[in-house]
Amino acid sequence: MITQASNYKQRKIVDQFMRGLMVGATILALIPLFLILGYVIFRGASSLSLAFFTEAYKAPQMSLTGDVQSAGGVLHGIVGSILIVGASLLFALPIGILAGVFLAEYPANSVATTVRFATDVLSAAPSIVVGVVAYILIVQRTKQFSGLAGSVALAVLMIPVITRTTEEILKLVPHTVREAAIALGTPKWKTTFTVVLPAATSGIVTGALLAFARATGETAPLLLTVLGNNNLGYSLLEPLAALPLLTYKYTEMPFPELNDLAWGTALVLTGLVLSVNLLARWATRSRLK
């Protein structure tokens, strides 16, 4: 029997101890996630109503008895977020995907090495710095806070994520599939666009969704570019509201009703980011089948 080995008991104990250590650390790491999720749901769920999704900001009013009445919703924030993030996807998707294709399909040259390094640096850049850059480049020159400036800042944050996921996914496409197309006399660019990219679609979608989730939750660059707006606006050339900005703003307000709206906004934002993440996971899983 193997149990007769001299240090069998000691090994067994060390094994148990190490396993317990790792399980404990995992649980510790998960506690904040569940605390945040639980508390956001607990505080935010009560403020979710029809008006929350269909009305914009309403100024708090004081009744004759001295109560402060406030209602209204965050429709302006939802619309603003969709516009800003949508526009930034329009900028970031083509640039990010094409850059990723370049890195994966033409890997062995000095330009690709430089681009890869720059992408890594950019993906680690603090988002407030990106916001300052967009502020100086766009807001100062046009003398106008605008949704568009925010879109550019978010696009800069999304591009490295999309580029690197696209590159990694394209590297997973088997070389033999490329060879099959080449052996039919297909030019390289055509092979890339008609064979390699379609084979990697779901992976690229995953990368785009993750970038989308990250951009939707960004607050710092929006403060300096989009500014915020109490009214429902549809123009990307003007200041817009956005969900993370509303959370920030309503939390500071001295009215409990608006504080509740902030919790509701936080819940919507968290739910959105979480469901996009889950969607991304689901897309990856179906690719592996």
């Binding site: 599939v177 060879e179 099959a180 080449i182 052996a183 039919l184 297909t186 030019p187 064979v195």
Partner: protein, 286 residues
């Protein structure tokens, strides 16, 4: 000074002799579909093929046999310049296709590959529908007429003995087929644009015996129309399907692949001229 001139003159005259030898050989070889003449191949500094001269007849099946590392796949892939993808790969000597130098300055590799198709070791269908997999090469070759494309797709799926199995699901993914079906799909895809030569790199090595048999039956059918060169590790397969057989072996000193013997398959398998061929086909090494 005079010595230098003398040396240069010697080099020049030897080049002339070598060139005219090539010419004489080439003239005799033009009747063959493919003719390799003193073909060398290098990966970086490593020489993979040394001085390979081999004739391949039109509308026949030629099998390249030999142990691993003997350069048979390297030679096969050299015929449609698949090595162009590898920047360190380099060819010397000549391979002629219908008398045209494959490595000559006037050969466009894209057009060459439309004349010389290839089937790979592992089935590699595109993530497209069955129909689009076969139609892909046609569209690359510039076919526009949808009706003609559809007719050609059906025709080659018949030829690849796949039509009855897929006719009801042409718009399903090619990846949903079994391994053997995928390989026959890849064969259909290769022959659809009507190449003249088909290169097969161990096309049945990843397949079960039944699928292998079907592939071999397909090859027999295709021999009426195409020139086929097949690399195989299976001596039985070479004996079953091929008309001509070429035996390659790695030189023990230089580690470069060399052609040992080539000829009609019957002769190679029953009456080999070289001792090494006999040892290999009787299973004594390799």
């Amino acid at each position: 000074m005079t010595q230098e001139v003398q040396i240069q003159a010697n080099i020049f005259s030897s080049l002339i002799t070598r060139f005219s030898n090539y010419q004489n050989e080439a003239v005799g070889a033009l009747s063959n579909k493919i003719q390799a003449l003193h073909f060398d191949f290098y990966y970086g500094k490593f020489q993979a093929l040394n001085d390979l001269s081999l004739a391949i007849k039109e509308r026949s099946i030629t099998a390249l046999i030999g142990p691993s590392g003997c350069g048979k796949s390297t030679f096969l892939r050299a015929i449609n310049r698949m090595h162009d993808q590898n920047p360190t790969a380099r060819a010397a000597g000549r391979i002629f296709l219908d008398g045209q130098d494959i490595y000559g300055p006037f050969t466009d590799p894209l057009l060459l590959r439309r004349r010389v198709g290839m089937v790979f070791q592992r089935p590699n269908p595109f993530t497209l529908s069955i129909f689009d997999n076969v139609a892909y090469g046609l569209r690359v070759a510039g076919w526009k007429d949808k009706k003609r494309i559809a007719e050609r797709v059906e025709e080659v799926l018949h030829q690849a003995a796949l039509w009855n199995e897929v006719k009801d699901r042409l718009n399903h993914s090619g990846l949903g087929l079994s391994g053997g079906q995928q390989q026959r799909l890849c064969i259909a895809r290769t022959i659809a644009p009507k190449p003249e030569v088909i290169l097969m790199d161990e096309p049945a090595s990843a397949l079960d015996p039944i699928s292998t048999l079907k592939i071999e039956e397909t090859m027999f059918e295709l021999r009426q129309e195409f020139t086929i060169i097949i690399v195989t590790h299976s001596m039985q397969q070479a004996a079953r399907v091929s008309d001509e057989t070429a035996f390659l072996l790695m030189n023990a000193e230089t580690r470069a692949g060399e052609l040992i013997e080539a000829g009609p398959t019957d002769q190679i398998f029953t009456n080999p001229q070289d001792k090494r061929t006999e040892d290999y086909i009787s299973g004594r090494f390799g």
